[in-house]
Structure formats: C-alpha cells, structure tokens
C-alpha cells in the first residue's frame, strides 16, 4: 500500500516563496525514493495542502490531513507562527509533525511528536559572528532586523546575545517592518555610527535591498547574516553589491559533497531553477522519514503505525544535501520528554562574485 504523507505549506500568499521551494524539495525527494522502489516496496504518496502562511489555515489543513486523509505523518507548516498553532493538533492526535523551516525557539517543546531538521539560529550565528570578527577584523557593528516577524526577531535575539557574549560593541540597532522597501532612514543612522560591519537578521530579499541601499548611501561595510540570507535571491537582486556578505547556514550550494551535488543537479533538472536552503532541508527531511520508515513494519493500524514512526525517527542518521544529520532531543519541559531538534554543523559562507562560497 502507499504510504500517505501530508505536506502543509504556504503555497499562496507572501510566505509562498518559501513554501513552494519546500514543496519542490519534498516532491523531488519522494519521486526519487519511489523511482528506486519506494520504502520496503511501498510508494510514498504526498497529500499536499496550502496553508497560506496563516495560523487558522494551518490548523484546518492539519486536521484535514490527519483526520480525513489519514496521513502517517505531516510535514510543515512553513512559518514558525503557524507551527505554534498547528503542531499541538498533531501532538494531540499522536502524529509525527516534521518542520523543515521552523527555526523559532520552543517549536519542539510542543510535544514528543514534534521533529525538525531546520537548524536553530542559536547553533549557527555564534559561529558566523566569530568567523566574521576574525575575517574582517571587526571592532564594532551595527544591527538591523525585522521586528514584526518571528523569524527575523528571534534571529536578532540570538545575534544580540552573541554580540554581548563575544563583547562586540553595537553602534546602533535599527528595525524595519515586513513589506518595507525603503531602508534609507535606518541606514543613514547606521552610517552616522560608522560601524565596521552590519549585522542583518533579515530575509534574503529584504537583505538584498538593504545592501543595495547601503551602497547607494556610499557605505562599504560588509554584512553578516544568518539562514535568512541563504538564497540565490540575494544575488539576483543585489548582484555583486552583496560581495563580502558573511552567512552561516547548514546548507550551501558550494558544499561539494556527493549528496549535495546530486541534489542540486536533480533540482535544476526538474524545476529549472537553483535550489535554496528551504528546498534542501525539505529534500533531506523526506529522506530522513523514509529512512525511519525502513525500520517500521506497517501494520495497517494507523495509530500503531504513527507511533512506530515516532519511535523510529530519533535514531535516524543520514548524510544528505545539508551534510551529516542527526536528531538531538530538545530539553525536557517540566520533566516531560518533548520533540527533537537538528544536530548539525553550520557552514560559514562568504559572498564572492555574486554567489556564496565557503569561507576558508
């Protein structure tokens, strides 16, 4: 029988730029797996639903997938905010919920059925900042971040703690809001503080615009960013104005492992575009689940099978597009065991000639 897996991602609305890449990653991986005969002879069947990046929709979609389509596990949702609304549904129904793009703190604290392979900023950013300080000889930095978005705000919180911890003075901290396109006022203020570098907890497209406007104001400082910057979009928009941007992420297009090379080639062939980190993480997530399923004897009793998958997942170790991957149990909440985070090493990249290369 087919193994039904639910995919709940934002396929329309502003979050669709991530959701669609994620969906592509899942589709690619599942097709590859099915082409090789599936898992223990069973094909993977994806049930894909659009949750629009809205919390109510995410809840509705989760319920539909779990109770009506009776999927074995659910991937998604795209945004952390939606995950906070939808993941409890899965946990209550005792269904594995697997986030590939939820980086916020506390996601895996929602229950023992919560898994994610998205790496938390807290694991990535300290490494990145340290590398940046060393590489550019930075003494002081300015910070800019999106203050009304859970992802950029939590990235900022980590940056702030990291900078304090590494004793790097901050000349000024500036915020912007979702949908802003003109950042000159903030950048002019940053310019006045004359920092050595600009730390940016932003999404790629905002960052690209920020970089361009920084240059238009006659500033030459390098940028330091996290996961959010890891997208070909950065260079499609900023071109080589983005050079010297330092970015830490679990995935890099430049990472020359065989698994990654295979992924990139296959993705390009299938979708005619460069993959990004979101696609890579989704792609890996599908393989992680498939790997776990190898060790699960499907009984046909849905509740039992769901439980079995939950039991099999923590032990999975793969070497995927994002490199070596293992799960790490999230810190227990009130003495109770909760979900699992990604245990992965961050790669620090630097932008050169319009793309990220590994920082040596």
């Amino acid at each position: 029988a087919d193994i039904k897996l639910g995919v709940a991602e934002a396929l329309t609305g502003p979050a669709a730029k991530y959701g669609v890449a994620i969906k592509n990653g899942f589709t690619l991986a599942s097709e590859e797996i099915n082409a090789k005969g599936g898992v223990n002879g069973d094909k993977l069947a994806l049930v894909i639903e659009d949750e629009q990046g809205k919390k109510e929709e995410a809840i509705n979609v989760f319920k539909k997938l779990i109770f009506q389509d009776k999927v074995l596990a659910v991937f998604g949702p795209t945004l952390s905010n939606s995950a906070f609304a939808a993941d409890p549904i899965a946990n209550a129904a005792k269904v594995v919920v697997f986030g590939t793009s939820n980086t916020a703190d506390g996601i895996t604290a929602m229950g023992p059925f919560t898994f994610r392979n998205s790496v938390m900023e807290a694991d990535v950013l300290p490494v990145t900042v340290k590398a940046a300080v060393k590489h550019f000889g930075i003494k002081k930095v300015a910070v800019i971040y999106g203050n009304d978005d859970a992802f950029t705000k939590s990235g900022y919180d980590v940056f702030k703690a990291t900078l304090e911890h590494q004793k790097i003075p901050v000349t000024t901290t500036e915020a912007y809001a979702k949908g802003d396109v003109d950042f000159k006022a903030q950048l002019t203020k940053i310019k006045a503080g004359n920092p050595d570098a600009i730390v940016c907890s932003c999404l790629a497209e905002e960052a690209a615009n920020i970089i361009l406007q920084t240059r238009a104001l006659g500033m030459k400082q390098p940028f330091i960013g996290g996961n959010g910057l890891n997208s070909p979009k950065l260079f499609e928009i900023a071109k080589d104005a983005g050079d010297n941007t330092l970015m830490g992420s679990p995935w890099s297009a430049e990472n020359q492992t065989p698994a990654n090379k295979a992924f990139i080639t296959a993705y390009k062939a299938k979708f005619g575009a460069d993959p990004d980190q979101f696609a890579a993480q989704a792609y890996d997530a599908m393989y992680i689940v498939a790997d776990a399923l190898k060790n699960v004897k499907l009984s046909g009793n849905l509740a039992k099978d769901r439980d079995a998958l939950r039991a099999a997942l923590p032990a999975v170790k793969i070497d995927g597009a994002t490199g070596k991957f293992a799960f790490r149990a999230a810190p227990a909440v009130a003495g109770k065991q909760v979900g699992f985070d990604a245990d992965q090493e961050a790669i620090v990249n630097i932008a050169k000639g319009g793309k990220f290369v590994l920082l040596k």
């Binding site: 329309t12 109510e56 929709e57 319920k63 905010n81 703190d105 506390g106 203050n147 009304d148």
Partner: protein, 288 residues
C-alpha cells in the same frame, strides 16, 4: 456516528471559526448600525485575546473569568479612545480607528509580556463548541433586543441623520460611544474564544487585513439586520475550505465570488427588502 467523529475532528476548527467570525461580524454590525465605520474591532479582538490568554496562561484563571476580562478590557479601552475619536465621521473615523489598531499592534510587538512578534504560544485549548454557541446566542439575543428598543432606533436615527437625531432628544455622542463599547466587548470576547482554540496568538493576527476581513463579512452578508453579518461570516469562513481543490487559484476564485455576490446583491446577501419584494412577487403570481 463514525463519520461524524471524523467530520467533527477534521472540521471543528472551521466550525468554531464560523461562530467566532459571526461574533466579530456582529461586533462591527453594532457600530455600523449607528453609522460608525469603525475598523478598531480587530484591535479590540486582539486586546481581548491577549487579556484572556494571559489570564489563563500566566495566572491560571478560570476560563469564564478570563473571557469576561477579555470583554471588559477592550470595552474600557473603547470608552477611553471613543470619547475623542467618535467626533470623526465616515472614512476619517475608519482611518483613525485603523491608526489606533496600528498603535496597539506596535505596542504589543514591543512589550515583553505579550511575547513581542512571537506572540503567545501554547494557549490552552479550552474553548468548547458550547461556549461559542452560548456566547454567540447571548450576543444575538442582546443585539436583537437592542434593535427593537429605543436604543436601536436611536442608533439608526444617528446613522441616517445626526443632526435630526440630536433634535429628537438623542444624546448622539453617548449612543455612539455605547455602540462602540458594545462592539469592542463583543470583539474582545470573540478574541478570547478564538485564542483558546488556535493555541497561539501574535500581533499580526489583528492588523489591517483582519479589520477589513471583519468588515467584509458584515457587509457581504448585509448590514440591515442581524442575520446578514452571520450569513456573511459563515460563507466567507467556509469559502476557503470549499474551494480547496482549486489549489493555487483558490484565492482568485474567492475574490471572484466576492465580486459577483456584491455585484448582484449590493445590499448584501441578506436584504430583507429585496427578499420581501421577491416573495411578494411570487405571491402575486400565485394569486394570478
């Protein structure tokens, strides 16, 4: 009853949303019936949601108390901002109230107790179907009684002609404030209910789009009486579910339906005058 269990498990959130949205649509109906185009109801819903959630999460208050507080606080805020704001009329009032909503959003975004942009996560799922039915019922009952009383007539008179209403002895400022406060209280309770079945609330759940959504539900259904807003909220809550298999172009279809309904039923779906005229015509036909 197995299909029912499956159906309920799948769609109970949708059904809950219909109830809560009906309350929200009614909350804006109250102000509209008094001629006030107030778009603050999303913000009031947010205040109610945060209040109720903080009480259940941090202080482990019983749900009824939390909900009551979720209604009272927005009402108090409405009382305070209503006094200066309600001098405005038409779109200017709409804008000022949107501006107020924006200020509330930014404050919530920058406070610690509200969790900033992350919002409050892990709101306990306490809302039961009968909570919603009960509170929606109470709302409908009270509003229906108001409509048939001098208060309802005063609202309507104000909507039609403030000056004339004033000279009929209607304390226009007072009644406007009353409508505004009632609307805020209903929206706040709806927010409290909503927060306790969606697990999480954030500052962006109560912004401009939501304010406009609430207005759309009411106007779409028709604002000449209580039934319209409820029909509007039901249809617009169900539409995304029903259109699910249109996939990527679902929203386009959604928009198209909105346009078509509005084009052919410009007074909203529930327009008693049209319905009466329609029934009248049919009756005539039968007689002939």
């Amino acid at each position: 009853m197995e299909w029912w269990d499956g159906f309920w498990a799948t769609y109970n959130t949708v059904i809950f949303s219909i109830g809560v949205n009906a309350m929200l649509a009614l909350s804006i109906y109250v102000t509209l019936s008094c001629g006030l185009l107030s778009l603050a109801n999303a913000a009031f819903m947010g205040i109610g949601a945060y209040t109720a959630s903080l009480l259940t999460m941090q202080f482990e208050m019983p749900f009824p108390i939390a909900l009551a507080a979720g209604g009272v606080l927005p009402a108090l805020v409405a009382l305070v901002i209503g006094i200066p704001t309600l001098r405005l009329s038409g779109v200017y009032l709409a804008m000022a109230t949107l501006g107020f909503g924006e200020v509330v959003r930014v404050i919530v975004l920058n406070l610690d107790i509200t969790g900033g942009p992350m919002g409050l996560n892990g709101v306990p799922p306490i809302t039961e179907w009968w909570h919603i039915v009960l509170l929606l019922g109470v709302t409908i009952y009270v509003l229906a009684r108001l409509r048939r009383s001098k208060i309802g007539r005063a609202f309507e008179a104000i909507k039609e002609d403030e000056i004339a209403a004033r000279l009929m002895g209607v304390n226009v400022a007072g009644y406007k404030l009353l409508a505004f406060v009632i609307g805020a209280a209903i929206a706040g309770v709806a927010g409290g209910l909503n927060a306790h079945f969606t697990f999480t609330i954030g500052p962006n759940n109560y912004g401009f789009e939501n304010a406009v959504d609430i207005l759309t539900m009411a106007v779409f259904g028709g604002t000449s009486n209580l039934i319209g807003p409820m029909i509007g909220s039901t249809i617009l809550s169900l539409l995304p579910e029903v259109l699910r298999h249109f996939k990527d172009f679902r929203l386009a279809i959604n928009g198209l339906i909105l346009i078509l309904v509005v084009l052919y039923l410009p007074k909203g779906i529930w327009d008693p005058r049209r319905i009466r005229a329609f029934l009248g015509r049919n009756a005539e036909k039968k007689v002939k």
